[in-house]
Symmetry: C2
Subunit: 476 residues, 2 copies
């Protein structure tokens, strides 16, 4: 990793300029978050203290006897310029300015921000912020934010133009079983911008999927952003939630981050042309990321976009089929020879077409075989590009355990195509079994429609990646 | 309640024809479910047993020394006609035939079904089924199904054309905090149909909201169904999830319940013209019902469909605004005098327009006041028809507790308009506080878009009910 951004996410030492013991102050929250996990050297800077939580406190960063890779600035705005001045002298590599009171407050703040950034640039120090919520890098257990803590590590990176959405998404996604590699809020985007972060994440080994919350990009950054997307997409999927699509939303974006939301259609078309996903809800954001972070390397074999639906409930299979066609998939009628083979496996009142209804009848052992043998026939005949396996119910326990085993032992291992599960039941009752399935890197959704959205992300990413790779080859 | 359907849902005594001790047989599951809660008299019928779980078992229903309101039939199809014969002689009021092997299996089964229903009709006995998953009536703790148990009572009734979807929805919704009054699957719809059930639910005192999963209605039933919807809607909202909308879905519906799915647009238009909701996903079904079951009596004061968005996160407010306009609401810019008043309450870098961003800054006490005072201004000026209150984060605990208190003490009590909450955070951390809010009958959603869908249901129901009431007055 040659990028100078590595000092933000993989620093060997961190100074917190404005570290405090007060848990109600940002300087206290950030300090507490950093020392809660980070194993590198930590240097709290604060002229009012000698010791904080067992750490020696320095009056100035210049007093630190060691090298400092990353400075986190949490002192009031008035002191930031001289803090950056000192950080430059100390040859700090990168700094995150969490302090607010800059360009977001008006003309005076904008000027102060320009001075701060100019000073940092003059000494080659990169800056995230000012007015940033901070960053998280779970590979080094670094939580340099004033928000919630790291509870789950993973491979999803999230870039949020809103600090609160960075915080809430980190909190909610972790709770939903999605671990993060990196979280970043760029604040006023004084120096480092989204395009550079995407470029960094492309090379970052802990990241395999990238989510972005975007309100708007300033003039000039659009092209750079799209270029970064294009260069990254053949290796890592990118999902963008762009807000400010409506007139009232655009008004909100202007007063929130000073963003000109711009024409949503222009954003959407441009981003999609570069093969990233554009979603329009938090639910789709998490549903897409759940699938992509588990199965980005599964591939489809055609552009038919045909999907196979295998269910123990006729009704849920129909709902999945309806949603699949709604979002542009086909749910092809199976060829007669495939139907004949499936008919021999499932009960006579089942449906061997597509959606396939194996029925909920039979012993656990029979259910195991209905699912596994039917799936084997589908896969062997290579008639679809991806699968939704649906389970209804949490009961009898022996039966749902048998279906779980069938999925893990005889379904997931025999296909390289995208595959998702909808388990329609009380989550609290089947949670342990759903986790077993997700441990095999198959996402489990509570409704058939959301499972289809996950599969949509996987199949479309597989096709988009191919296109991006071809484009890259041609332009070489 | 004069309807003869009351014997299905409020019986004084129940006979289970085919009760068994085997928990893997339907006769064992149904018997276990009935005796697990039901307080009326229970008479297991089975010539092979004398006692089951401490209950005296009768050889025939004719041997039961007491009156029998409801017979649940779980013996094989071949014996059902004579069982109904005997039930007639016993003057049983109603029977649920869970046994399958009738019209769903072909011509022979269809004829047997006709004979069974004709016999029941000849003695005035109503029949649900055959091939029914059964019914649940939580007011009398009756679970006459072979599915999962009653874990939560409530006011939502659900009619499902799919047994598995009845089971899974009962399981999932209860887990998500939505309690049921009545659950019913009509199986082959030999006698009792959806229209009659809707008519019954209209009068049922424990039911306040009705959900329906529908694959298709046979010729002739459509008009009756719509009439029942129309007569019910001014008192109780109805949400319909109609499947078989796509070509593959329609194929599935035909092989699943023999339903001609029909033109979705015709169904949708007809149902909407009668002021019921038509949704296209399980997620919307639960999100609509969550809101309607809590707030069906809240009313809006105009047809402007303007909503107010109050958030501590600018980004989440923007996402809510985008979704609101997408589904046909307005998020009106506030009048200057209202803006001026709000500006005095919130921090200078907040947004007093709409969406309103009160910011996440300040002490818990300040946050309490940002939310409560801003809301008071909005409500006093009567500038919108409904509200979304948004909370980002689970931390600091004191702050989110203060916001919860503000909502419960100073927001919910002062308005009669529809109001929903989006809490964007780790559910596991804020669950107790979200429950406190839901105890005040305000639904809490995990994403801004889903909160908007809940509010959409409430505002649209308020307007639809008014129209239905006017229509009823005119036609009197």
């Amino acid at each position: 990793m040659q990028s100078d951004l590595k000092y933000f996410f993989y620093p060997s030492s961190v100074a917190i300029i404005g570290a405090s013991e007060d848990p109600l102050k940002i300087g206290g929250l950030v300090f507490r978050n950093v020392i809660s996990g980070y194993k590198g050297k930590v240097f709290p800077i604060n002229p009012k203290h000698n010791m904080l939580n067992g750490y020696k406190v320095y009056r100035s960063i210049l007093d630190v006897p060691d090298e400092v890779d990353l400075a986190i600035v949490v002192i009031p705005a008035a002191g930031v310029l001289s803090a950056i001045e000192e950080a430059c002298k100390k040859k700090v590599k990168a700094s995150i300015i969490i302090t607010s009171g800059f360009a977001e407050t008006g003309e005076q703040g904008r000027k102060l921000q320009e001075q701060v950034i100019a000073r940092a640039k003059s000494c080659g120090m990169r800056v995230i912020g000012p007015n940033s919520f901070g960053i998280v890098s779970t590979a080094v257990d670094l939580n340099a934010t004033f928000g919630v803590g790291i509870r789950r590590k993973g491979s999803t990176a999230f870039i949020s133009q809103s600090g609160a959405i960075a915080d809430g998404t980190f909190d909610w996604f972790q709770d939903e079983g999605i671990g993060f590699s990196i979280l970043v809020n760029l604040g006023n985007r004084g120096d480092v911008n989204e395009a550079e972060i995407i470029g960094f994440l492309k090379e970052d080994e802990t990241t395999n999927t990238i989510g972005i919350y975007l309100e708007g990009l300033p003039n000039g950054l659009g092209r750079e952003f799209l270029k970064a997307v294009e260069e990254t997409i053949s290796e890592k999927p990118i999902v963008v939630l762009k807000s400010g699509r409506s007139s009232s939303g655009a008004r909100g974006a202007m007063s929130h981050t000073g963003s000109l939301a711009g024409s949503y259609n222009i954003y959407k078309t441009a981003i999609q042309q570069h093969h990233a996903f554009v979603v329009e809800s938090m639910q789709d954001l998490i549903d897409y990321i759940r699938a992509l972070s588990m199965q980005k390397n599964r591939t489809t074999n055609s552009e038919i976009r045909g999907i196979g639906i295998l269910s123990n409930s006729g009704g849920l299979g129909i709902l999945a089929a309806d949603e699949a066609e709604k979002v542009g998939f086909n749910v092809p009628m199976l060829p007669q020879n495939v139907i004949d083979e499936i008919r021999k496996i499932i009960p006579p009142y089942g449906a061997p077409y597509n959606p396939i209804d194996v029925t909920a009848q039979g012993t656990p052992k029979q259910q195991y075989e209905f699912y596994s043998k039917t799936f084997k026939v589908l896969e062997e005949h290579n008639v679809v590009d991806g699968y939704v396996v649906i389970i209804e119910g949490s009961f009898p326990r022996e039966t749902v355990e048998a279906i779980t085993d069938a999925i893990i032992n005889e379904i997931v291992p025999i296909t390289k195509k995208p595959i998702v599960v909808n388990w329609y039941a009380a989550k609290s009752i089947i949670e342990d079994l759903a986790k077993k399935i997700e441990n095999e890197k198959v996402p489990v959704y509570p409704t058939p429609e959301r499972a289809i959205h996950g599969l949509q992300a996987l199949i479309n990413y597989s096709l988009a990646r191919k296109k991006a790779q071809i484009k890259a080859l041609i332009s070489q």
